[in-house]
Symmetry: C2
Subunit: 296 residues, 2 copies
C-alpha cells in the first residue's frame, strides 16, 4: 500500500521534505468555495487502494473543520484504503471539563467526530491539561510528538547563557526537558488566571539569574497575556530583554505585536501554524514518526 | 416528555410564536468565541429528560456547523431525551453526484454527519435536485415543508393579474402548485447553465401575457444570475417590471442589489434565512408540522 499526501490549507510543515524523505507522492486536491460559501472538493490524484494522508493546519478551526471531514469522505468514496491526518496544531483541547453547569465539553465532542473520519492522527504537543492521554477522548491511534528537542536545539544554537522560564507548575516537566536539552537552568512562574484575558504572574528566585538571557516558553501563545505580563515583570526587575518561544503561534487579535512591543527581544515559534515568527522546524519529528509508526 | 426550544444563530423564523402556540419553553443558551476562535457553549436551562429542539439558520454553513454539533452534544451530555433540529434552509444539497471524477459528494457526507447528531429534522423546500427523497441520504426522520401555500397566498393578496414564471422544467410541478394557489397562469424558462455564475435564458409564449405582472419564482436565490437574466429579458420584451420571489434568501455577494437594480419591481423571500427581503412568513408551516409529527 503506497502512500499519497495532500496538503489542506496553508500548512507551515515542510510537506515537500516529508514526501521526499519518505518517497510519498504529493497529491493534488482542489478546494474552493461556491458563491454561497459552500465548499467544493475534488481529488485529482489516483488514490484507489492507497493510504491517504492529509496535512491540515486547523487553528481557528470552525470554518476549516467541515471541509477537512469532506476531504476524508471524498478519499474514502474514491477507494482510499486508509485515511490518516497530520494536524500540527490540534484545536479544541482546552474545554476538557464542565467548569460551570451546562457547559459543553467541546474537546470530547470534537474528538468523537474526528475519530470517526480518520484512521490515525499525528499532532505536536497538544494541550493535555487535565487529561493524561489522548486516548481518553480519541478512539483512533494518536501519535503525540514533542517539540522539546527542536526547541532545545534552537536555544543552544542561538542563545548563550539562557535561563528557561516556564508558564506554570503544570508545565514543569516539559520545561525541565527543554532546559536539559539546552543545558540551561530553569524556573517556573506562579500565575493566577482571572478570566480569558487577565493573568497575574510572579517569578521566584529570578534574581539569581541577572546575567542570563531569559527564555519564556509555552505550548500555545494565544492572547499572549501571560507572556506579556512576564516580560514586563522581567523588565521591572532589570533583567535582560527576554526571548519568547511558543510551540503554537495561535496569536489571537494583536497578540503578536503586543508581545513584541512589551519589551521582548524576539518572539520565536515552531512551524505548526504558519506565522512570521516560525523559526523552529518540526518536520523531522513528523518524518521520524511516519517512519516508525505508519510506514512499517 | 415536555419540550424546550433553543434558537441558535439569528433565525428569521418566529420562534416566540412557535413556543407560544405549542406551549414550549424558550431555552437560554450561551454561544461565544474564545480569543483563539474556538467556540464556547453553555446551556442555561434545565433539559434533563426533555425533548430539545434547536432552530438554526445555517446558510454559509462551514463556520456554523461545528457549533451546532457541539450544541447537540452538550444537550445529550446534559440528559436531553431527544434532540431535534429545525433548519429552515438546508445547505449542501447541490453537490449530489460526481459531475467530474474525483469530486466529493458533499450532500451525502453532510447528511451522514447530521444524521448522527439529531433525532429528527424539519426543513423547508430543500434543493432536491437529482434526488427523489431526503431519505436517500438522511437516515433520521426528515420533515420537508413546502412554502407553496404561503407564497401563493402572498401573491393573491399583493398582485393582481400575475403570470408565474418558473426557473426550469424541473421546477414545473412546484411552480404549477404556486400558480394554482394564486389562481394564475404559469410558464417555465428554458435555461442553459454555463459554470457557477453564467446562465442563458429564454421564455416561450411570454407574449401572450403582456398585460400581466410577471412573478419570477425560485427555491434559492444565490448569485441571482438566472433571475437577473430573466428580468432583463422581460424588460427587453416590454413586459411589466417583474416581482422576484425566492424561498431562500442566500444572496451571495452583491446579488440582492444587482437583482433590484436589474429592473425588478421588488424582491420578496420567505423567512428561512434572515434578510431584508423577507415578507413571507413560514412559521405556521413549522407549527403545524410540530403538532402533527413531534408533539403526538
Amino acid at each position: 500500500m503506497n502512500t499519497i499526501l495532500f496538503e489542506l490549507y496553508a500548512s507551515a510543515v515542510d510537506t515537500m521534505k516529508i514526501c521526499k524523505q519518505l518517497g510519498y507522492e504529493l497529491g493534488e486536491i482542489d478546494i474552493r468555495q461556491f458563491p454561497d460559501k459552500e465548499t467544493y472538493i475534488k481529488i485529482n490524484s489516483d488514490i484507489i487502494n492507497r493510504q491517504v494522508i492529509f496535512v491540515a493546519s486547523i487553528d481557528k478551526p470552525n470554518n476549516k473543520f467541515l471541509p477537512l471531514l469532506f476531504a476524508a469522505g471524498t478519499a474514502r468514496e474514491l477507494g482510499a484504503e486508509k485515511v490518516g491526518v497530520i494536524v500540527p496544531y490540534l484545536p479544541y483541547m482546552r474545554q476538557d471539563k464542565q467548569f460551570q453547569p451546562g457547559e459543553g465539553i467541546t474537546s470530547k465532542y470534537f474528538a468523537s467526530i474526528f475519530s470517526q473520519y480518520f484512521n490515525w492522527m499525528i499532532t505536536i504537543d497538544p494541550h493535555l491539561h487535565r487529561r493524561h492521554s489522548m486516548s481518553e477522548i480519541y478512539t483512533i491511534p494518536t501519535y503525540v510528538l514533542h517539540s522539546t528537542t527542536p526547541i532545545a536545539n534552537w536555544i543552544k544554537a542561538n542563545v548563550s547563557d539562557p535561563i528557561i522560564i516556564g508558564p506554570d507548575m503544570e508545565s514543569e516537566q516539559w520545561v525541565a526537558e527543554v532546559a536539559k536539552g539546552a543545558q540551561a537552568p530553569f524556573i517556573v512562574l506562579e500565575k493566577t488566571r482571572k478570566g480569558d484575558r487577565e493573568v497575574e504572574v510572579s517569578l521566584p528566585k529570578i534574581d539569581e539569574y541577572k546575567t542570563r538571557t531569559p527564555i519564556l516558553v509555552d505550548d500555545i501563545i494565544s492572547t499572549g497575556k501571560t507572556m506579556i505580563e512576564t516580560v514586563k515583570h522581567l523588565n521591572h526587575l532589570k533583567m535582560k530583554p527576554p526571548i519568547c518561544i511558543g510551540v503554537h503561534a495561535v496569536f489571537s487579535g494583536e497578540a503578536y505585536s503586543d508581545l513584541l512591543n512589551s519589551g521582548a527581544e524576539k518572539v520565536v515559534t515552531c512551524n505548526t501554524i504558519k506565522h512570521q515568527s516560525n523559526m523552529i522546524d518540526i518536520s523531522d519529528l513528523v518524518v521520524n514518526c511516519l517512519i516508525e509508526n505508519i510506514n512499517g
